[in-house]
């Protein structure tokens, strides 16, 4: 186990190092920097002044130095300073990330709460009423874009019920009720697509397992349905489902960027998109790298759960 853990951890580091290089390169590869954006239309601007600003921002140092300084800072929790506003990036992220993470976590929890039981029932009672219903719900979840559903939700709630979610985010630890008023609807809407995907995977995976010989053996030796399902089938069927849940968490962090915009939530969407428009390197680089870090760690946790669920996976 320890060796597997170590191997798996060792893979995380080069992956994230690669991600940081990809983001850094992407940002520098494409033309235009923050100074161009700020003074883009200004023909009066004196070239020497612009050079001075670049000098102050450290934009004319060798790329390797810029990269090392950024990544070194990132590793010690210093995410840099916004080139546009001068606000430390860590501060902005500390404000936005809780909102985005709460949205993603709530959505994945809702998705699993609905998807896993429904997927199990659908597989066990294949072609029954629940199965048909889950198929339809699955297709709806896959085909309805969350940003449209969110728009429709706001349209209906405001025109028919004269209700709009309160503005201004409050931490759930400060005022849980108000936080839920703000976050419940966006989280549920965001949950629909991952719910469909997890449900379909649960059903498909369980059907596959239920066809195996050892399940027939379990029945043949006289075990009851419940015992076969709980002790033999589910444990094995759950492995691909776990993978999908891990992947969906990443999808949710991307999806929440759009939902945040619609519900005017102060998550990282605003930070990321404004950072992109302004070519604010530290803001975009640190935000994306942090999102990837969280995503990679979630998937690492999923992989480690595997080896707990399935003793065969120990990668020697």
């Amino acid at each position: 186990m320890n060796r597997y853990l170590l191997q798996r951890l060792m893979l995380v580091i080069p992956t994230l190092a690669g991600v940081s290089l990809i983001i850094f390169t992407l940002m520098r590869l494409l033309p235009g920097d923050v100074v161009d954006i700020l003074f883009g239309g200004d023909t009066q601007a004196d070239q020497r002044t612009l050079d001075q600003i670049r000098e102050n921002l450290g934009l004319n140092r060798p790329l390797a130095v810029q990269y090392l300084e950024w990544i070194g800072g990132f590793l010690s929790g210093n995410f840099g300073v916004s080139m546009r506003t001068g606000i430390p990036v860590a501060e902005s992220i500390a404000q936005g990330m809780p909102v985005t993470l709460q949205l993603a976590v709530m959505a994945i929890v809702f998705a699993c709460l609905f998807a896993i039981p429904l997927g199990i029932v659908a597989a066990v009672r294949r072609n029954g009423v629940t199965d048909m219903l889950t198929r339809i719900v699955g297709l709806i979840g896959l085909s309805f874009p969350a940003f449209w559903l969110a728009t429709m939700f706001l349209l209906i709630s405001s025109t028919m019920f004269r209700w709009t979610p309160p503005l201004g985010w409050v931490s759930p630890f400060v005022d849980f009720g108000r936080n839920m008023q703000i976050m419940l609807a966006p989280a549920l809407l965001l949950a629909l697509q991952p719910m469909a995907i997890i449900m379909r995977m649960t059903r498909a995976s369980l059907l596959e397992v239920l066809r195996q010989d050892y399940i027939r053996t379990a029945y043949a030796k006289g075990l009851r349905d419940r015992a076969v399902l709980l002790r033999h089938a589910l444990q094995n069927a759950f492995i691909p489902v776990l993978t999908v849940i891990g992947v969906q968490f990443g999808v949710l962090m991307g999806g929440s960027v759009i939902i945040e915009q619609i519900f005017s939530l102060p998550g990282i969407a605003f930070l990321l998109i404004n950072g992109l428009y302004n070519r604010d390197y530290p803001v975009v680089q640190s935000t994306v790298l942090l999102l990837s870090l969280i995503f990679v760690l979630v998937n690492l946790a999923v992989d480690l759960l595997y080896s707990a669920v399935d003793p065969r996976i120990r990668y020697d």
Partner: protein, 298 residues
């Protein structure tokens, strides 16, 4: 003397042979009701795209009336905030969605497929290196990466297509590599190699036909994802630019006026749902048809 009818006969004779060759797919899909429904939906959307100038009563970009009119006889779905006919814009929007879907998925298939082919064919260090690269791209949440690339390239439809193509390329790379590894040890590949078939011939004539099925399924499902991604990027203002009638962009700009005329937001959304549903149904149907192991399991 060969009469013209003999040629027709020969052709007629040739046809059943062709049909027999493709029959497993068509026959399986014929029994698959959802797959057929999906195909019908896509056919309708394609038809709408092809005949857009004929079907739509007005130009999609010209102001034809007063702003924000309710749906009526003259303007089926009303008008938007610039007095443009929403129905005409929705019909024309199918062109953008299908075009973006096709181009971005082709890009992903070309790049990702090539990476996967090389990794799976060459193996060894090249394989490890390429797959590490793929892992890195997978480590960035895909929509976040698409937003970053599209935002950096500058908001335009072309750049959105490039962004979506890059983001989905790793999916193909992993898929093609996995299939290549599964197929490469089969006896027929060894046999082909033994009789001296060259690498390119080996890949084109022996590998590709045998890994085509999962690629086709993935492509259909990815088309729906790509169309959704374009809508999302355009919704954020990073894709299609005004006055192009992209469904996502229509939704993005229309939602500010939806309390006055809800159709500015409802109509493009329904169009997205219908199109995406079509590709999802077809993808499921194809998977059932092409992969007997999974039949009925989705």
């Amino acid at each position: 003397m060969t009469s013209p009818s003999a040629i027709t006969d020969a052709r007629a004779g040739g046809l059943p042979l062709m049909r027999r060759r493709t029959s497993p797919l068509i026959a399986a899909l014929r029994r698959n009701v959802p797959g057929l429904v999906g195909m019908a939906i896509i056919a309708l959307v394609v038809l709408a795209a092809l005949l857009a100038p004929v079907i739509s009563p007005y130009s999609p970009t010209a102001q034809v009336s007063r702003r924000l009119l309710e749906p009526g006889a003259q303007y089926l779905l009303g008008t938007d905030e610039f007095g443009r006919d929403i129905f005409s814009r929705v019909i024309h929007g199918s062109r953008i969605s299908l075009y973006v879907g096709a181009v971005s998925v082709s890009l992903a298939l070309a790049f990702g497929g090539a990476l996967g082919l090389i990794a799976g064919y060459v193996g060894g260090r090249v394989d490890t290196l390429l797959m590490r690269l793929v892992d890195m791209l997978f480590a960035i949440p895909s929509l976040v990466l698409a937003i970053v690339i599209a935002g950096l390239l500058g908001p335009s439809l072309t750049n959105a297509m490039i962004a979506i193509g890059i983001v989905y390329a790793p999916i193909y790379a992993r898929l093609v590599r996995g299939e290549m590894l599964a197929v490469r040890n089969y006896a027929y590949i060894e046999a082909a190699r033994a009789v001296g078939v060259r690498p390119v011939g080996l890949i084109v004539r022996h590998f590709l036909p045998n890994i085509a099925a999962p690629l086709i399924v993935q492509t259909s499902l990815l088309l729906s994802t790509a169309i959704l991604a374009e809508a999302a990027l355009s919704f954020l203002g990073l894709g299609a630019q005004p006055p192009d009638p992209s469904w996502g962009a229509m939704l993005g700009s229309g939602r500010r006026f939806m309390e006055l005329t809800p159709w500015v937001a409802i109509a493009p959304g329904i169009a997205i749902v219908i199109t995406v549903l079509g590709f999802n149904l077809l993808g499921d149907g194809l998977r059932d048809a092409l992969d007997p192991r999974l039949r009925g399991s989705t």
